[in-house]
Amino acid sequence: MRPSLLRDLHDVELAAQAAAGGRREYGELVRRHGSAVRGLLRRMGAAPSLADDVAQDAFLQGFQRCSEFRGQGTFAGWIKKIAARLYLKRVAREARYVAEVEADEADVVVDHAGFMDLDEAMKTLNETERVCVSLCHGAGMSHPEIAAAMNLPLGTVKSHVKRGLDKLRARLQPAQASGGRSTHVG
């Protein structure tokens, strides 16, 4: 199938064809959602190279498990959950939760127009808060799902999400109120 035709297909159609072994169709899904998955992992605190590595593993796993995706929710949400879980496993294996370092608030950059994007605001969160907020709002996972994935008590997860959102609200509010510019694409 020509690339131009692939671009006209919906994610669900592409996933169905990928489940039947369609590598080109799956490639189109990677093209569409690769940046979003890598972006989510970076927001969770992964270094760019690690984020790319985990995202690649997630897409490869997604290709093998494509038949499990039946259009409940979005493909982006589905693949993001796979990526987030893989990242958590990788982090747990490397025991990176041992040291939680509070971000130095002076590191947060506010540009001349007063705009601070989400990625910069996320730097004000500590690692666990950042992961919890990203899983909740970036990967669309519920609090119990996050608790299970991170092996943390549900109440702790809720606290991390709430504290993280409070920090984001405090950081993003002035920028949003001043009508900051956006360089993001949907």
Partner: protein, 133 residues
């Protein structure tokens, strides 16, 4: 900003992702990995099929029907087995190994050497595959 206003905003911000500059490179990397895994899977399946096929032929050659309780069904199966055996033998002759007798000692030895080599290749493939995963 109230929580009611903030929550949709944060959802929207998370839903927006910047297009990364090396998007094409990432896609190429994923596709290359998919190709590589596909090749290994094909190799593993081919190897498994080969081993299974060889075992099936060997069992077919060795199959010994009981003379007791002779029925039309067992006669038919025996005829089919003999036909398969003949086909396998002519296949071996076609490959230039017509003297290879699966029933004698040297033939069995050769069979197990080949089977062992295939298993070793498969094991190596699986190890490589697990490293890729």
């Amino acid at each position: 900003m109230s929580a009611d206003e903030f929550d949709p905003m944060i959802e929207r911000l998370f839903a927006q992702s910047p297009r990364l500059a090396d998007e094409a490179l990432f896609l190429a990397t994923v596709q290359a990995s998919m190709e590589k895994r596909s090749r290994w899977r094909t190799l593993a399946l081919t190897g498994a099929g080969l081993v299974g096929g060889v075992l099936a032929v060997r069992e077919g050659v060795n199959f010994n029907f009981s003379a007791d309780g002779e029925t039309t069904l067992t006669q038919g199966v025996r005829t089919a087995a003999a036909t398969a055996q003949g086909a396998a033998q002519s296949g071996l002759e076609g490959l230039g190994v017509g003297s290879f007798d699966l029933m004698d000692g040297s033939g069995m030895m050769a069979f197990w050497i080949v089977a062992g080599a295939l298993v070793a290749v498969l094991a190596a493939g699986l190890v490589k595959l697990s490293q890729d995963v």
